[in-house]
């Protein structure tokens, strides 16, 4: 759904006036993408679950103040997601969460270094994509995952990462270019990651 979608416009208008069933429909439309975006940001399902619920709660409370002339509903939602994520980060500084992988593991190996695919057993192949992504700079990995995993729009990604859309495009290009350089790794992986 986008701003030009009359059905979403109607739902937003009804939700602004306190129609909970209309808001429930909006939740159904956006929850999966929001959940995946939260997973990209948090990389931990419990924290992502809290983040999603807090985002929707904040959206429901702030719904009367939403101005659909200024932004799409999804972009407004992503701005709340970013706000709640920053609050989560502040809490995380007091009680650190366990990251599933190190997002700053470094860049992709140069041509002279051993290839990541070298010596990979079949059972490890499914983890290869995660390893490739983890070796990207965090900013590039997030853009790739927000776009292709969470299917967030350019404006939504720029909002949640708080950067210009040109920067988002640049990060996506550099991230994909790095992956393309590892074509044999990519070719090892099937469409479904096996």
């Amino acid at each position: 759904m986008d701003r030009t979608n009359p059905k979403e416009l109607l739902l937003v208008e009804r939700a602004r006036h306190g129609d909970s069933s209309a808001f429930d429909t909006l939740i159904q439309c956006h929850n999966e993408r929001l959940w995946r975006s939260a997973m990209v940001l948090c990389r931990e399902s419990d924290a992502a679950k809290d983040l999603v619920q807090e985002t929707w709660l904040e959206a429901w409370r702030s719904m009367p103040r939403f101005d659909d002339g200024r932004a799409q509903f999804s972009t407004w939602l992503y701005s709340i997601l970013r706000h709640r994520y920053l609050k989560l980060l502040r809490r995380r500084t007091r009680k650190p969460l366990v990251l599933l992988s190190d997002p700053y593991a470094g860049a992709m190996p140069d041509a002279g270094q051993p290839h990541p695919a070298a010596g990979i057993h079949k059972r490890e192949v499914r983890n290869l994509l995660d390893r490739l992504l983890d070796r990207l700079p965090e900013a590039q990995r997030r853009v790739l995952e927000l776009r292709f995993y969470a299917e967030a729009s350019l404006a939504d990604i720029a909002t949640v990462l708080d950067c210009p859309e040109g920067t988002v495009k640049s990060r996506l290009h550099h991230g994909l270019k790095t992956l393309r350089k590892n074509s044999d790794c990519l070719n090892l992986l099937g469409r479904d990651g096996e």
Partner: protein, 186 residues
């Protein structure tokens, strides 16, 4: 010619990735498609970009949490935990208030002189009662020296199987046994 092609391919390099993301304008997309028709190398790179995008998008995701307005209106335990620091002091304050409300009033405070007055009244009552075994049993239960006082008031004495030991703590088991056996005599 090769240098020109390389420059052209480099120009399209970013568009290949933006094409995979679906972020090309119509003009950019048309220009890129025309180039791809003539450049196998860029076609391969475009395929890799789309393949990588598909791999990232095809990764399994945990099931999304079920969210609804009804569920949102209920405060979650995690949110309540934010107030956990407040719960302890609040409970302590409530306990203090409850204890204060149930504290004994001026009439409930124990005063030794009150008990002394009660004892004297009890002795006087028993002294006025008939000199029966029941009267002396009541005197024994009243306090240690009440029996002596009542006996003196009645001008009587008691005879025990064993010598009477004044100062025994009350209730004295021996006195109770004597009372049961009826050895307290006028």
């Amino acid at each position: 010619m090769g240098e020109i092609m390389k420059t052209t391919c480099e120009q399209f390099d970013e568009l290949l990735d933006l094409r995979a993301a679906g972020w090309l304008s119509a003009d950019e997309a048309g220009e890129l498609e025309r180039h791809l028709l003539t450049c196998p190398s860029c076609r391969e790179q475009a395929r890799l970009a789309e393949h990588a995008a598909g791999l990232i998008g095809g990764r399994p995701a945990p099931p999304a949490p079920v969210v609804g307005v009804t569920a949102l209106s209920r405060r979650r335990p995690a949110q309540l935990l934010k107030w956990a620091w407040f719960i302890g002091p609040a409970l302590a304050a409530c306990l203090v208030v409850l204890l204060r409300l149930h504290a004994p009033g001026p009439d409930d405070i124990y005063r030794p002189e009150d008990e002394s007055h009660a004892r004297q009244a009890g002795v006087a009552e028993l002294a006025a009662a008939p000199p029966t075994l029941a009267t002396y049993n009541r005197a024994i239960l009243l306090h240690d020296s009440a029996l002596d006082d009542v006996l003196n008031a009645h001008d009587r004495s008691i005879q025990l199987h064993e010598p009477y030991k004044p100062g025994l703590s009350f209730p004295d088991r021996r006195q109770q046994e004597n009372r049961k056996q009826g050895v307290i005599k006028s």
